[in-house]
C-alpha cells in the first residue's frame, strides 16, 4: 500500500502564491509525472511531498497517513535530484550506504543491499570511485542506487534526465521504465519534457502557474486535452488550434473555417453532445487538430479542405507541411514525398480525433 494523496495543497512565499489548491491522488504502483514549463511549481510540489518545503495549506497523505508535519526521513520516501547531489567526498559505495548507516543498519545487510542495487543498475565496477570520476549517466545511476536501497514507499524524481545528452536520455528513460516495472514502487516524477511524460507515466498532471490543468492517463491527455494550454503543451509538433464557426447538422457538428483566397472549408461529422451542440451552434469555437490527423485526400478519404503549402520540412519518417488555415499557421504530418512547397493540396481530416474548445475560456467542449 503506497498511495499518495495531495489534498488542496497550497504554497506561498510571502505574498507570492506558487501553488494554488493542487489536488492529485494516485494509487499504489502508479507512475505520476508532473509536467509543466519552467517555474510552474513542479519542484516546489515535489519538495513538499518530500518534506523539504513547508506546506502552506492543505494536506499530503502517503499510504493514507498525513505527513504534513513529518520530517523527510520519517516519510518513507527516497529522492533523486536534478543535479544528482552525490556526496562529492564519498565513494559510490559510501554514497549508497550513507542513509543506511544513519539508520544503523548492520554492515552485512548494508553490503547485501549495495550489491543488489549495484547489480540491478550495473554499477558494481564503479563502487570504489568518487562521483567526480563518473560520467553523467553513471552519476545518474548512482543517484538511483542511493534511492533504491532505501526501499521507500514512494520514489521522487526531480528532472533526473535533464542533465544528460539526448541519446543517453532516451536510454535512461527506458531504464527507469524497466526499473518501475521491476520494483513496482509508486513514483512521482517531475519533468518539462512532454515525451518523457508520455513514455513513462501512468498518470500525467499538466501544471501551469501553480494550477493543475489536467490529471489523466497520458493517452487521454493527448487525445482529449482539457484546454488549449494542455493541447499545445503535449505533443510535438503541437496541436493546431484553429478559429472556426460551429454549425449543427443533425446530431453532429460542422466547423466552418476561413481559408485565404479560397472558399471556406467545412469539416463535418464532429460528434458533440446535444447540449453543447445547442449551446455552441452558430458561435465561434477553437478547433484542435493534431498534425497527424491530416492526410492527403484519396478516393476513400474525401477532401475536407484545399490549401496551399508554404513550407515543407521532411523529417525522415514523415514530412511536415505548413499552411495557413483560419488565419493561423497549421502543421500537417504527412507521409514522405507527398507534399511540395508552393503547391496546392486537397487534405482529409480524421474528424473523430478533432477536439473543440470554447473560444473564450479555452476549455474543451464535449
Amino acid at each position: 500500500m503506497s498511495t499518495l494523496e495531495i489534498d488542496r495543497v497550497r504554497k506561498a512565499y510571502g505574498h507570492l502564491e506558487v501553488l494554488k489548491e493542487v489536488s492529485i491522488s494516485i494509487g499504489t504502483g502508479d507512475f505520476l509525472v508532473l509536467l509543466g514549463p519552467s517555474g510552474c511549481g513542479k519542484s516546489t510540489l515535489l519538495n513538499m511531498i518530500a518534506g523539504l518545503e513547508t506546506i502552506t495549506g492543505g494536506q499530503i497523505r502517503i499510504a493514507g497517513k498525513t505527513v504534513n508535519d513529518l520530517s523527510p526521513k520519517d516519510r518513507d520516501i527516497a529522492m533523486v535530484f536534478q543535479s544528482y547531489a552525490l556526496y562529492p567526498t564519498m565513494t559510490v559505495r559510501q554514497n549508497i550506504e550513507f542513509g543506511m548507516k544513519i539508520r544503523r543498519i548492520a554492515q552485512a545487510d548494508r553490503d547485501r543491499a549495495v550489491k543488489t542495487a549495484s547489480d540491478l543498475l550495473q554499477i558494481t565496477h564503479l563502487l570504489d570511485r568518487k562521483p567526480s570520476q563518473l560520467s553523467g549517466g553513471q552519476r545518474q545511476r548512482v543517484a538511483m542506487g542511493r534511492a533504491i536501497v532505501r526501499e521507500p514507499k514512494l520514489f521522487l524524481f526531480d528532472e533526473p534526465l535533464s542533465n544528460l545528452d539526448a541519446k543517453l536520455r532516451v536510454d535512461m528513460r527506458t531504464e527507469i521504465k524497466r526499473l518501475h516495472a521491476r520494483l513496482g514502487t509508486t513514483i512521482v516524477y517531475v519533468t518539462h519534457d512532454q515525451i518523457e511524460a508520455m513514455t513513462l507515466a501512468t498518470r500525467v498532471a499538466v501544471m501551469k502557474d501553480g494550477v493543475v490543468q489536467q490529471l489523466d492517463e497520458p493517452q487521454a491527455v493527448y487525445d482529449r486535452p482539457a484546454n488549449v494550454y494542455v493541447a499545445r503543451f503535449v505533443g510535438s509538433p503541437a496541436m493546431n488550434i484553429v478559429p472556426a464557426v460551429l454549425g449543427a447538422e443533425g446530431a453532429t457538428a460542422t466547423a466552418v473555417i476561413d481559408i485565404a483566397r479560397r472558399p471556406a472549408a467545412r469539416i463535418g461529422g464532429i460528434s458533440l453532445s446535444a447540449e453543447a451542440l445547442r449551446r455552441y451552434a452558430g458561435r465561434k469555437v477553437l478547433v484542435g487538430i493534431r498534425p497527424e490527423n491530416f492526410s492527403i485526400a484519396t478516393a476513400s478519404a474525401a477532401p475536407a479542405l484545399t490549401v496551399d503549402f508554404d513550407v515543407v520540412e521532411p523529417t525522415g519518417p514523415d514530412t511536415l507541411a505548413v499552411f495557413q488555415l483560419g488565419g493561423v499557421e497549421v502543421t500537417a504530418r504527412l507521409p514522405p514525398r507527398q507534399a511540395h512547397a508552393g503547391r496546392e493540396a486537397a487534405l482529409a481530416v480524421d474528424t473523430s480525433k478533432i477536439v473543440l474548445f470554447d473560444s473564450e475560456t479555452e476549455t474543451r467542449i464535449d
Binding site: A85, T89, I102
Partner: protein
C-alpha cells in the same frame, strides 16, 4: 620565414624584459630579508665595524641563542622562548575556535536559512570593518567582568571573537557555491544538522578551512595591539616581547640579536605559508569556479 623569425625574436625580447623586471623587483623585495639574515649571523663588533650588507666574515649563531633564551625582557632575562610558548598557547585555540565557529555560522547562513539571515550576515560583515582601536576599551571591560583580564585565555577570547567575522565571511561564501540539493539529499537520507555538517559539508571544505586557518594564524600571531593591551609581563605574546627586546636594551644596540629575534617571531607564519600556501590560493578562488 624571415618575418616569422623576427616575430619570434621580438617575442623573446619582450619576455626577457618581463623576466628582467621581475628579477629586479624580487631582489629589491628580498633585500631587507638578506640584511636581516646576514646581520643576525655576524658578531656585534663586525656590524659596528661598518659591514651591513656584506657576507659575514665570521658566522656565529650567538645572536640567535641570545634572542631565544638569554635576552633580557624587562627585568627577566629569559629570551623569547616563554613568549613563543605564550603565542602558541594563544594562537592554536584562537584559530581553532574562530575557524570552527565561522564554519558553523557559514553553514547556518547558507543551508539553514532563517528569517533575517541576511541581516545577521550584514552585521557580521560590519564586524570585519571595525578598527581594532574601537573595541579596546569595551573589550577590556568585558574581559575584566569575565575575570580573564591580563591572561592568555582572555587574549584567546578576544582574537577568537574578533576573527569570527572574517571566518564566517570565508565559509559563507564557500558554502553558497555548494548546491542546496546536497543538504536536501542528506536530509532525505535521514541526516540531521550536525551529521550533515560533519559528514557532507566539512569534507568538501578543506581548501577554505586551510584559508581560514592561515588567515587567522597570521593575523593572531602577528597581532601587537591586543597583545600589548590585554596582557602584561610574563603572559605577553611574542610580538610584545620582541618589541621589549628591541626597545629596552641599554648601552650598545644589539642589532644581531634584534634581527634574530625578529626572525624567530616571523618563522611560524612563514612555515604555515610554505606548508599550506598552495591551498591558500586554491581556496581563495574556489568559490569563483564551480567545482
Amino acid at each position: 620565414m624571415a618575418e616569422a623569425l623576427s616575430q619570434s625574436g621580438k617575442a623573446r625580447l619582450g619576455r626577457l624584459f618581463v623576466y628582467g623586471c621581475l628579477v629586479v623587483v624580487a631582489l629589491l623585495y628580498l633585500m631587507p630579508l638578506w640584511v636581516m639574515v646576514v646581520t643576525s649571523l655576524k658578531p656585534l663588533d663586525e656590524i659596528y665595524g661598518g659591514s651591513f650588507i656584506g657576507v659575514p666574515k665570521v658566522v656565529t649563531l650567538d645572536a640567535w641563542r641570545a634572542a631565544w633564551s638569554e635576552a633580557c625582557i624587562g627585568t627577566e632575562c629569559t629570551g623569547l622562548k616563554p613568549y613563543f610558548v605564550n603565542s602558541l598557547l594563544m594562537v592554536i585555540p584562537a584559530v581553532a575556535l574562530s575557524t570552527g565557529i565561522g564554519a558553523i555560522n557559514g553553514y547556518i547562513l547558507t543551508k539553514w536559512r532563517f528569517p533575517g539571515a541576511n541581516f545577521v550576515f550584514g552585521l557580521l560583515l560590519f564586524g570585519c570593518f571595525l578598527p581594532y582601536q574601537a573595541i579596546l576599551i569595551p573589550m577590556a571591560r568585558t574581559l575584566g567582568l569575565l575575570g580573564l583580564a591580563g591572561s592568555i585565555p582572555g587574549l584567546v577570547a578576544v582574537h577568537a571573537s574578533y576573527g569570527i567575522c572574517f571566518t564566517t565571511l570565508f565559509f559563507r561564501n564557500y558554502f553558497v557555491s555548494l548546491p542546496d540539493e546536497l543538504t536536501k539529499a542528506a536530509m532525505v537520507d535521514g541526516a540531521g544538522f550536525f551529521r550533515i555538517f560533519w559528514s557532507v559539508i566539512l569534507p568538501t571544505s578543506i581548501p577554505i578551512i586551510v584559508v581560514s586557518c592561515i588567515w587567522q594564524f597570521t593575523q593572531i600571531w602577528n597581532d601587537f595591539l591586543f597583545g600589548v593591551s590585554f596582557t602584561s609581563g610574563s603572559s605577553s605574546p611574542i610580538t610584545v616581547a620582541l618589541n621589549n627586546i628591541v626597545n629596552v636594551t641599554t648601552g650598545r644596540k644589539q642589532y644581531n640579536v634584534d634581527m634574530a629575534a625578529a626572525m624567530i617571531a616571523a618563522i611560524p607564519t612563514l612555515v604555515v605559508y610554505i606548508v599550506a600556501g598552495r591551498y591558500f590560493v586554491r581556496g581563495l578562488t574556489a568559490g569563483a569556479v564551480k567545482g
